[in-house]
Symmetry: C2
Subunit: 351 residues, 2 copies
């Protein structure tokens, strides 16, 4: 194909220049209208908009990206295998919140899995090519190198769940400490005293905070913390089964379980049932997340609600601010960059 014909002057997609000719204005003016600049008179704006409509003009994203050095895309990076993504409602809720907030904008969302080495290398390449303006990181473990890579590449990022108390990246999280306290205080109020805790992955900071909340709630109620009642889990159903099996063997007298996630609670419930323990008669069960499965369990599961969709929305807010506003960090209020949302105990029949 001849070079000059590449764009197909006739029949191809209209360009900004053609819109300008049609509206009888210059290229710059059309650009200003398209990008909503206030420095355009009403009459001119109307003329340009008419031309855009008549020609069916749609801006060329690649040209814009090249000239403006931005992509209008952000990535939701899930450092987990796809299977976990689909198995755990946490992720789909998050995706929904993020998607909802993004429909208001021109931004495009990319879903990227980085569950194994191969995928991670691909992601690194992807980020190095600066194919996104910003990154949303969910479910990050304490020793994950991804955040460092991101700041090295100077790509704005927001993390769901800080990696530690001194997280430097902007983050959005629910109040894990208070949530755990709500769960334990509820169980205590039900007269339970031998309350076990199946934790989340302890390399996730939020899971540690929940353990702290669990401990403090017991202590403040005048109970001693029995360390044998704490069993590490990993947020998964299988992990819940494993932990519950170990707990039943070690502490057959337990009368309540506070699980690190609803999915974990489902695993625990199965083991409890097989062991002949009735819920809630013999053992009270409380989950975390208040995801869809909590309502559908038998009996319905009492759970600590995290506003996951809201968290997704707030992450987008933070990220878009971060992208728009690249002033030196000193002039930014750090206070606004660590968002913590309240949890709420949803009582159901399992406790």
């Amino acid at each position: 194909m001849a070079h000059g014909a590449r764009g197909g002057r006739s029949g191809g997609r209209p360009t900004l220049e053609e819109v300008a000719a049609r509206a009888g204005v210059g290229r710059g003016t059309v650009s200003r209208v398209i990008n909503g600049s206030p420095r355009v008179s009403e009459a001119t704006r109307a003329a340009v908009e008419a031309a855009v409509a008549e020609l069916g003009y749609v801006p060329n994203t690649a040209a814009r990206a090249l000239a403006a050095n931005r992509t209008d895309a952000i990535a939701l990076v899930v450092p987990e295998p796809e299977t976990r993504f689909f198995a755990e409602p946490y992720f789909s809720d998050m995706l929904r919140g993020v998607g909802a907030e993004l429909t208001e904008t021109e931004m495009q969302l990319l879903l990227i899995f980085a569950g194994n080495d191969r995928e991670r290398r691909r992601l690194a390449q992807y980020l190095a090519a600066h194919r996104v303006d910003g990154v949303l990181l969910v479910s990050v473990h304490a020793d994950d190198p991804l955040p460092d890579l991101l700041s090295q590449l100077e790509i704005p990022a927001v993390i769901s769940g800080p990696r530690s108390a001194s997280e430097t990246l902007p983050s959005v999280d629910s109040d894990n400490y208070a949530g755990a306290r709500q769960a334990v205080e509820h169980l205590l109020s039900r007269g339970r005293t031998r309350i076990a805790h199946i934790t989340g992955r302890l390399d996730v900071y939020g899971a540690q905070r929940r353990v702290e909340g669990y401990r403090d709630a017991l202590r403040e109620a005048g109970h001693q913390v029995d360390e044998t009642l704490i069993e590490p889990g990993d947020f998964t159903e299988e992990g819940g089964r494993r932990a519950m099996t170990a707990l039943l063997e070690r502490c057959p007298d337990l009368d309540a379980v506070f699980a690190g996630s609803d999915v974990t609670a489902a695993g625990a419930r199965q083991v409890l049932r097989e062991a002949g323990r009735r819920i809630p008669d013999d053992v009270s069960l409380v989950g975390y997340d208040d995801s869809a499965i909590a309502r559908h369990m038998d009996p319905p599961l009492t759970s600590v609600r995290q506003p996951i969709q809201e968290m997704g929305r707030r992450m987008i807010d933070l990220l878009l601010t971060e992208i728009a506003d690249r002033r030196p960090a000193a002039t930014r209020g750090l206070d606004r960059r660590q968002v913590v949302l309240a949890t709420e105990l949803v009582e159901r029949a399992s406790s």
Copy 2:
């Protein structure tokens, strides 16, 4: 920021031109090396690759997209609400197959939901901007306008499941007719004679084909087809419950159920159990898809396996061919563009 400094000649990302200077060759040569052209001598290629490595050069996607008029991205369009996407293993399996095939390439996959009007408008805008080189359409209903939009915009597309016997778009599907026959013949061989069928959405061509397979299998075995044993469903669990309830009321003497999907079978099983029918003693149950839930059901579900991941892979194959190879349709073999994969009956305890 001053215009000339935009790219940041110092410290910014290296450009192709800088690589060329470093390797002591011209821009064209570097471009040829990057794009794997064979028209480069070994020595030159090595020199360029060294320069690329030293500089940490990564091509600028936007510039490439602008100059070459392609985006190196394809979209997986799901014309369903997100909730269905997460509830049905069909989609996640498909996504996995597609993703696997794509890791071999430089292509990027975008997941786009078009479950409501707002999302559909957004998608139309997106496609009009030609932000993807091609589209994968899954789960398309007979009257969906999306395929027409795509061909109007001249965007290559592949459809999973033709809309009719005379589908014009390239498609990949499993042999729904044969799959249904396998299921029914299996139930007949088990001595069942009152075999009900809960269909899929009948505006999906594949679901119609399964009904035909169901009918023909019965007829060829010398049975008359009792139309009251056929109840429309919609692939969902709730649909399965509804249909099963209707069937039990209308035909209490049924002794087998062939469901349009595993999820539908799960809904049917629940109703059967509540009605006191034992599986498989009183009623045999066969599903479709052989998704993960089939193995985890109680009792494990006999199901017609569709090679969904394989289907995803083949769709990518077709689409990449379609994108690479834009010769006039006449020179292309239409035969290669309608792929039908074999199904396989997986026998488990439910039948």
